[in-house]
């Protein structure tokens, strides 16, 4: 499994350092003819914020969704410290086998997805709140239905979390009664209520009106300060610069450059990174 990416970090062949929470290696994915990911490696340490940046179509969202089992890569593996270790290549191979192999493969894939979702939680671009449920019911759905936490306990915890993002008074509102920024904050609380080890954010502010972006980013910054481990797909470069510990720039389905935000944003090593940043930071030039 040799990848040709310039990196001064521990490469895929190195032993994972003890505080590594998540390791992804050689993630590949095609949608039909479209080869979206061409071997992406990713390592996330506990308490670290990793930002994935890049143009639309660069594959950053697909990487993020693969970590949660919402996409099934054609090859590669995703391993959480403490399990699971998911081998997507083996899943893909099983899918082309005989009937018994396919059935066993499907069973394994289902177990893998459940295990991945047990460790991580997702915040979506379009919040994807359940419109027929109140804010409170949205938040306690996972804890009560999946984790089997008693309702009273789940409600108490949900109210605490809602208060922390300034939405205590909205617990009985329906999602459509909230502003976009409030909806997204509920989306974050819904993810937090699952008490995941890893929070995944898929362009959480891209669908918001500009004046509502700040309230969501400041909640995310607080979470980072509290030590939550986060992988964030974002177009908010300033947020990435201020909050992320590591920034990965993706283009054409590969990680073109990775490093500390100060280095990536001030002194990118790759020409492609430089051009991307230029387009974003100076759109009119």
């Amino acid at each position: 499994m040799s990848r040709t990416e310039p990196s001064d970090r521990p490469g895929p062949s190195d032993r994972p350092v003890p505080d590594t929470l998540l390791t992804a290696r050689g993630i590949e994915k095609s949608f039909g003819e479209n080869h979206v990911l061409r071997g992406v490696d990713l390592e996330v340490r506990r308490g670290e914020v990793v930002a994935l940046i890049g143009a639309s179509g660069s594959g950053k969202t697909t990487v993020l969704r693969s970590l949660n089992g919402l996409e099934t890569p054609d090859a590669g593996m995703v391993e959480f410290n403490g399990g699971p270790a998911v081998d997507f290549g083996a899943q893909a191979a099983a899918a082309t086998g005989g009937w018994g192999v396919r059935r066993e493969g499907a069973r394994q894939a289902k177990a893998d997805r459940a295990a991945l979702r047990d460790r991580s939680a997702m915040v979506f671009q379009h919040h994807n709140l359940f419109p027929h449920r109140t804010v409170l019911d949205n938040v306690i759905e996972g804890p009560t239905q999946v984790k089997r936490i008693p309702r009273a306990t789940a409600v108490g915890r949900a109210e605490e979390l809602l208060a922390r993002v300034g939405l205590a008074d909205k617990r009985d509102a329906y999602p459509h009664e909230l502003s976009g920024g409030q909806q997204q904050r509920v989306g974050i609380v819904r993810a937090l209520a699952l008490e995941p080890d890893l929070l995944l954010f898929d362009e959480p502010t891209s669908a918001l009106d500009p004046e509502l972006v700040g309230e969501v980013l400041s909640v995310m910054k607080e979470l980072a300060d509290e030590g939550w481990t986060m992988v964030v797909v974002t177009h908010e470069l300033q947020f990435a610069r201020q909050v992320a510990d590591e920034v990965l720039f993706l283009d054409g389905g590969v990680v073109v450059e990775r490093g500390a935000p100060a280095q990536i944003f001030s002194d990118p090593a790759e020409e492609r990174t430089r051009r991307f940043l230029d387009r974003i930071l100076h759109p009119l030039d």
């Binding site: 379009h126 027929h132 999946v146 993810a191 699952l194």
Partner: protein
């Protein structure tokens, strides 16, 4: 016009509706909806065999007349040794019919729920079945109330066909009274008005359900 006949036949007709037409429609609709959900899920299944079974069922039901389906079940099956009384035969035929038509409504309603709702259910840890039950079906229900109401109202009127397999519902009562009095125009028109009254009440009920399910939708 024989007003005395109108008055005398009103109660027998209405009673035929209340103990015949309405229970027949309700029972068939309830069973038919369960069947329709099963057929809709078959059609949506990624398994080709299952989805083919669902498609074949819908095609057979929609491609053959309800009257013929009734005849096959009540007059045809006994030749194969399967015998039903008029009521069970009618309920089976109407349920199967609703199952075919409503399956398409339910399938479309499930497909109308955004993919993100499924994904949100999965990422909070729910299985596909639980996500369907708790997240997708409640939202699909809202969308399917108007077309399913159509199906139900059609069914209420279609139960008049059960008269040909000897079920005593409203239209059979009307036929008896008409044959006895020879006042075909008066009696059949009266029956028609009672059907219309039933359907008007049902349409009001539909509005109430729609209003209730609309509370979580932005206007």
């Amino acid at each position: 016009m024989d007003w005395q006949l109108v008055a005398d036949s009103f109660w027998p007709l209405l009673r035929g509706g209340l103990v015949g037409t309405i229970p027949l429609a309700l029972a068939s609709f309830a069973i038919g909806l369960v069947l329709a959900l099963v057929v809709a899920l078959l059609r949506l299944s990624p398994n080709r065999m299952l989805s083919w079974i669902g498609r074949a069922y819908v095609s057979l039901i929609r491609g053959t007349p309800l009257l013929v389906q009734l005849f096959i079940i009540f007059y045809g099956l006994p030749q194969l040794g399967v015998r039903f009384d008029p009521w069970p035969a009618a309920i089976i035929a109407f349920s199967m019919n609703v199952g075919g038509y409503a399956a398409e409504v339910i399938r479309a309603a499930i497909l109308s729920v955004p993919k993100g709702q499924w994904e949100a259910g999965w990422t909070v840890g729910m299985s596909p079945v639980r996500t369907l039950r708790r997240i997708v079906l409640p939202q699909a229900a809202r969308v399917s109330v108007p077309p399913l109401s159509n199906t139900f109202i059609s069914l209420v009127k279609d139960t008049s066909l059960a008269t040909v397999i000897l079920v005593t519902e409203m239209f059979r009562k009307a036929q008896e009274i008409a044959a006895f009095s020879n006042e075909f125009m008066v009696v059949y028109t009266e029956a028609a008005l009672i059907y219309w009254m039933f359907c008007t009440v049902l349409a009001t009920g539909q509005n109430a359900i729609e209003k209730r399910l609309d509370r979580y939708v932005a206007h």
